[in-house]
């Protein structure tokens, strides 16, 4: 039976896939035409019925989010698309926008109609010049073709290198022209979002999934995936594998299946640890190869589906080094607004640096876990929570490796063995 099911990625192999001509040739902008002729509430109901859930990590039902926008309130409503893809390991939205920016533009038109918004913004990370070009051109061409500008305005807003702006309320502050720091919730964006107006914030992949749902119907989407995780999604395989890449499949596929399809771990090596959905999702090991990669399956196994960023590390990789580097990332990206995250990530780095250098003591492991306990659930936003995931999960599965650094007085691994160009898989 076919395991892969390209929908979003179906036409990426056509050389001109990013142009409006190619998109229209492949049936593009039919869904928006159809949706604009429907009652907005019927569009919301259709998306609810499809079972589509947020692809940015949280998995919140997209149609329900749209339904939260108060109607008849005589206020402006806004759609904001989160294209600030920055979670370590996550690399699905950028190739999607490079290959097919129009599917997002069309999704924005449909979503704006559903939530009665006249303005949509796409907040894209700033470190991707060519993706910005493609999206900007797509928006220009959609205006010229009359898809935009007839009651729906779409503005591309380019970020400037702050991971925290992937957090939806920090993104809104950034879009309003402030430092990107998260807001206290409630009020949620559906009530008071951009400019304190009702706002839907959705991930690129969520909005891009909508045109196909309008075209093919909720039942078609429902027919793929698992009981509570419907449809197809992009799984991004990276790291010590023979063939990294994007794999669009129904939710619920396992890492074992993806590895079997793609050629497995790099030759002569074995799987050591992996992330199911970016660095903020607790690590898995080779014991988790058969976990269904849907929202419920990954959660039941002690992690989170997140962004489906499958980062694979083989036995040459020092888990302490890997975790230290992620922790340095969280420290650097902490916005400084709340104490547990700002101070906590700083201390986590200090302790992990000592441990990696073989200079700490076993009591430092307890201290790390205690610090994590004081950051998790006590930070202003999920960045602090995410910072603790690699630490607590790595100590759970690889405590002996931390101890080995201490008994050895140094890191027992050769970093050259993990590189692609000096390792066995040259």
């Amino acid at each position: 039976m076919t395991k892969l099911a390209p929908v979003l990625s179906a036409h990426w192999d056509e050389k001109d896939s990013f142009t409006i001509d190619a998109y229209t040739r492949n049936g593009g902008y039919k869904a928006s035409k159809k949706a604009l002729a429907m009652d907005p509430d019927a569009v919301i109901q259709l998306v609810k019925d499809s079972g589509l859930r947020g692809r940015g990590g949280a998995g919140f039902p997209t149609g329900m989010k749209w339904g939260f926008i108060p109607q008849g309130d005589n206020k402006d409503h806004y759609l904001v698309v989160n294209a600030d893809e920055s979670e370590p390991g996550t690399c699905k939205d950028m190739p999607l926008l490079l290959a097919n920016p129009h599917v997002l533009v069309e999704g924005c038109i449909i979503a704006c109609h559903a939530i009665r918004a006249k303005y949509a913004f796409i907040y894209i990370r700033g470190e991707v010049t060519h993706v910005v070009r493609r999206l900007n051109q797509a928006i220009e061409d959609a205006y010229k073709a009359g898809h935009l500008g007839n009651g729906i305005e779409l503005v591309l807003h380019v970020g400037a290198g702050a991971y925290i702006c992937g957090e939806e309320t920090a993104l809104l502050d950034s879009l309003e022209g402030f430092r990107g720091q998260p807001r206290l919730r409630p009020p949620f964006p559906a009530i008071a979002g951009l400019y304190a107006r009702p706002t839907v914030v959705n991930n690129v992949e969520s909005i891009s999934s909508v045109p196909a749902i309008i075209n093919n119907g909720a039942e078609w989407y429902q027919s793929m995936g698992t009981e509570k995780s419907k449809g197809t999604t992009l799984y991004s395989l990276s790291g010590h594998v023979k063939n990294p890449g994007q794999f669009e499949a129904p939710l619920g596929i396992t890492l074992r299946e993806i590895l079997e399809l793609s050629g497995g771990i790099r030759a002569g090596h074995t799987l050591k640890f992996w992330t199911p959905g970016g660095s903020s999702t607790p690590l898995f090991t080779s014991d988790h190869l058969d976990v269904p990669l849907d929202y419920e399956g990954v959660s039941a196994a002690g992690s989170m589906l997140g962004t489906k960023a499958l980062q694979i590390f083989d036995e040459t990789t020092c888990v302490v080094r890997a975790v230290l580097r992620w922790t340095e990332f969280y420290k650097h990206e902490s916005c400084g607004k709340c104490t547990p995250c700002r101070e906590g990530t700083w201390w986590l780095v200090q302790i992990l640096r000592d441990l990696e250098a073989g200079k700490g003591t076993e009591a430092d492991l307890a201290k790390l876990l205690d610090l994590c306990d004081n950051i998790m659930g006590r930070s202003f936003c999920a960045l602090g929570d995410g910072a603790t995931s690699p630490i607590t999960s790595s100590i759970k599965y690889f405590r002996d490796e931390y101890i080995a650094h201490l008994t050895n007085g140094a890191c027992p691994f050769d970093p050259a063995a993990s590189t692609l160009f000096e390792g066995a898989n040259k």
Partner: protein, 208 residues
Amino acid sequence: MSFSDKDLATMESIISRYPRSRSAIMPLLHYAQSLAGYVTNESIELIAKLLALETAEVTAVSTFYTQYKRKPVGEYHVGVCTNTLCAVMGGDAIFAGLKEHLGIENDGVTTDGKVSLEHIECNAACDYAPVVMANWEFYDNQTVQSAKDLVDGMRAGNPPAPTRGPNTLVTWKEASAVLAGINDGKANEGLQAGTPSLLGLKLSKEGK
């Protein structure tokens, strides 16, 4: 520096994109970098004036985001991903190799002003690791040698083209204008997708 009438007109058109003017701070800062190469005090004063803000408010935004530079960078700004996955797969070796080869440290600029170097966080191209960015264009699957060749090309005035990007590498100032939302007409250049992006689709067509 002074701003031409054309610069001012562009800045007004950037402001007009938004329902509320303050939202234009970020594209205006990108635009300022396209003029001077970095965010100068003069550009902060101008942006504050255009948006009816205090200079401190604009400065606060400009210092929050790492892509805004408060001092000159090279004509080609090179970012080496040293987040975990790229670091492990070779990013650390590439970054060390470039520092030695160029004789500069993190955030340094070569004396000829051609190349600046920075270690960066995950750049959403992990299936192409190790990744190097130049003026925020993708250079995929790099090695220590290919990265040295890249910066040598920059210093000689003929850098190789990005892996997934336009046919030629644009300068830092030109890239900054693109990030300010100005169309440079190069959107149709380059690949629609690299091999890893297409792997799942290819396997699906083979019946998998």
